[in-house]
């Protein structure tokens, strides 16, 4: 990370805070029933989204998951449009049709969150083919969870991406849980990253709570992909701070482990400390960022609340075309 500008580091820190505060707000809104359905916050996993999306360009694609708010924000999503979607409003990214699990945007090159675990992994193969056929050096990041890596589609997709040397970076966010199932019990080999060798691609097992490590690893994988060397698999080890969703108390999780991750491995706090130690920012700067971000998030809630609901008549007309 030595060759990263001070400005870029500050941008990354801001993104981390933005995701953290956004997720905190969505949980609040869920508890007051402004957001409903399913909501899967990415609290504790922010460094993966930010590190990965900062290591690629705006023209590269990402494929996301049901726990995708962080990916969207890291890729530059507009908080107003995200919040409006979570509130089911006509102004939201999906016109209120999708909600938390389905946010997508063509301009952001964000090919969609997904309600189906692993549903995005094969899609990344096709996006990889497009990039390869276009021959313009673009790459695809495919995010998925430890749980998803046990589904058949993971194995088919990584094999195919490797056979055709597609420019895809597979990032497994191993947050130790798939709902109540601990990945220590669900993954047959020691690490998800070990699976890379079965598909003839490089495998990396990294600390997903360390933004720098994520950034550098993804950068390397992206460089390889752009050079035509094919895909990589990165297992970014992290921790799901909450339950599977806000209504799940996560009683099956080990309390000491949960405390450890929150106290010692907080990706936002640790990156903040690092930048302070490097003399790049001060407490005053942090306060300023927090204020700016709070305002952005409050504004997004206001925007969403004041936005119109989708029109029923229009919906009934549109249905006739389906």
């Amino acid at each position: 990370m030595t060759n990263i500008s001070k400005e870029a580091k500050i941008e990354m820190l801001k993104k981390l805070i933005e995701i953290r505060r956004f997720e905190e707000k969505t949980v609040q809104l869920y508890q007051t029933a402004k957001i409903w359905g399913y909501l899967h916050p990415s609290l504790g996993q922010e460094a993966i989204a930010v590190g990965a999306c900062s290591a690629i360009t705006g023209d590269d694609y990402i494929v996301s998951t049901h726990r995708g708010h962080g990916h969207c924000i890291a890729k530059g999503a507009n908080l107003n449009l995200m919040m409006a979607e979570l509130l089911g409003k006509a102004t939201g990214y999906c016109k209120g049709r999708g909600g938390s699990m389905h946010i997508a945007d063509t301009e952001l090159k964000m090919l969609g969150a997904n309600g189906i675990v692993g549903g995005g992994i094969p899609i990344s193969v096709g996006a990889g083919f497009s990039c390869k056929m276009d021959g313009n050096g673009k790459v695809v990041i495919c995010f998925f969870g430890d749980g998803a890596s046990n589904n058949g589609v993971f194995h088919e997709s990584l094999n195919m991406a490797s056979v055709f040397k597609l420019p895809v970076i597979y990032i497994c966010e191993n947050n130790l849980y798939a709902i109540s199932m601990c990945s220590r019990e669900s993954v047959a080999c020691k690490n998800v990253g070990d699976r890379a060798s079965s598909y003839g691609m490089p495998g990396y097992i990294i600390d997903g709570n360390d933004l720098t490590e994520v950034y550098e690893t993804v950068k390397k994988a992206a460089d390889d992909a752009r050079k035509g060397n094919g895909p990589s698999l990165i297992e970014a080890q992290t921790y799901r701070w909450g339950g599977h969703h806000p209504n799940d108390p996560g009683a099956y999780k080990d309390k000491e482990e949960a405390d450890y991750y929150k106290k010692e491995k907080d990706p936002v706090v640790n990156f903040k400390k690092k930048l302070m130690a490097e003399g790049i920012i001060t407490d005053r700067d942090i306060d300023k960022f927090e204020d700016e971000i709070k305002k952005m998030i409050d504004d997004s809630v206001k925007f969403a609340e004041e936005s119109p609901e989708p029109e029923l008549d229009k919906f009934l007309e549109e249905v006739k075309q389906i």
């Binding site: 409903w36 359905g37 399913y38 089911g88 409003k89 999906c94 209120g96 049709r97 999708g98 909600g99 699990m101 389905h102 997904n114 309600g115 189906i116 675990v117 692993g118 549903g119 749980g147 998803a148 046990n150 589904n151 058949g152 589609v153 798939a178 709902i179 109540s180 199932m181 669900s186 993954v187 009683a251 099956y252 609901e309 989708p310 029923l312 919906f315 009934l316 549109e318 249905v319 389906i322």
Partner: protein, 325 residues
């Protein structure tokens, strides 16, 4: 009679069958300490241990395949697919394997497998978690399709499903797990292919299953105020289907409204309508009405979500279009 929740009735059926037949076991995602996504298996991991309550990785095709393989070799698995929307990942195992093995092998092998799953809209969980896909399984020869509405029905039918020597799609509805209904203390089973008259009436027959039974009951209550008497037939199992019960009700009332949460195109409702038209046309005093979900992926926004599935008011309207009083 005591009243228990739908999910509790499921749990009771499972416990009774696991206690009486050591070959019955459970397999699926988050069915261990978590007790299943709707908590129907609460505490079963403690009662039966991890050998009979097999908590799996997220591997739907392998869950069904494992169920089939164990069924072929002497066990009676109950495999769970958390949402019917995820059966999409298991279709080879269900459609090409489970449904056909017995027939293809000249009855040499059989597959005593229950696939428990749930569908339906109403919880704001959008297009990939709200579908009603029963028509897919109804369409495939070799599968039984069970869709119980009440606590009483779910318990008696699940026990029958577990004892059945062939694959059964056991489809619940996410909006009714907490509904309470009367269930006797003593043991009982309910045979497949036997409809239940959920309400007797004279003027119109309403065919409804799963959560639509409750919407129909609500509609019938409304219509009663206008002097219209509805008979509600709940088939409980779509395959085998108690077509006689429907026909004999239609012979009495001369009118039929078929209700289905699933979208209409290619639906079970359309097929019921075709069968009644063929077999009881002379007894019909008015065209058959179908009240079905709209042909749309289920939207997240709750106004749109609600608009995409039938409600009591839609059933009332349809009845009034064919019953003039």
């Amino acid at each position: 009679m005591r009243e228990i929740e739908y999910r509790e009735a499921i749990r009771e059926a499972v416990i009774e069958e696991m206690d009486s037949d050591e070959k019955v076991f459970l397999i699926g995602e988050d069915i261990g300490v978590y007790g299943g996504a709707f908590r129907a298996y609460k505490g079963l991991i403690d009662k039966y241990g991890p050998e009979r309550v097999i908590n799996t990785p997220i591997s739907e095709a392998a869950i069904i395949g494992a169920g089939i393989g164990a069924a072929l070799t002497g066990y009676r698995p109950i495999a769970e697919i958390m949402f019917i929307d995820f059966t999409t990942l298991t279709m080879d195992q269900i459609v090409n394997q489970a449904a056909k093995i017995r027939y293809m092998t000249g009855d040499s092998l059989n597959v005593p497998l229950v696939i428990r799953t749930q569908g339906g809209a109403g919880r704001g969980v959008a297009a990939q978690h709200s579908q009603s896909l029963e028509a897919w399984f109804y369409h495939v020869p070799g599968l039984k399709v069970v869709m119980p509405a009440t606590s009483y029905d779910v318990k008696g039918l699940l026990k029958t499903a577990i004892r059945d020597d062939n694959p059964v799609m056991f489809i619940e509805h996410k909006m009714i797990y907490l509904n309470k209904g009367p269930v006797p203390e003593e043991e009982y089973t309910i045979p497949f292919g036997k409809a239940d008259i959920k309400r007797e009436g004279e003027d119109v027959t309403i065919f409804a299953y799963s959560n639509m039974v409750f919407k129909s009951l609500e509609a019938a209550g409304e219509l009663q105020k206008d002097g219209i008497s509805c008979e509600i037939i709940d088939p409980r199992t779509l395959v085998p289907l108690d077509i006689e019960a429907i026909i004999s009700s239609v012979k009495k009332t001369g009118r039929l409204v078929v209700v289905s949460e699933a979208c209409r195109r290619g639906s079970v409702a359309s097929d019921i309508s075709a069968m009644v038209t063929e077999e009881a046309f002379d007894f019909l005093d008015a065209p058959i009405k179908i009240v079905a979900g709209l042909n749309t992926p289920i939207p997240y926004n709750s106004t749109l979500e609600q608009a995409s599935i039938p409600h009591a008011a839609d059933i009332v309207k349809a009845v009034k279009e064919i019953v003039k009083k």
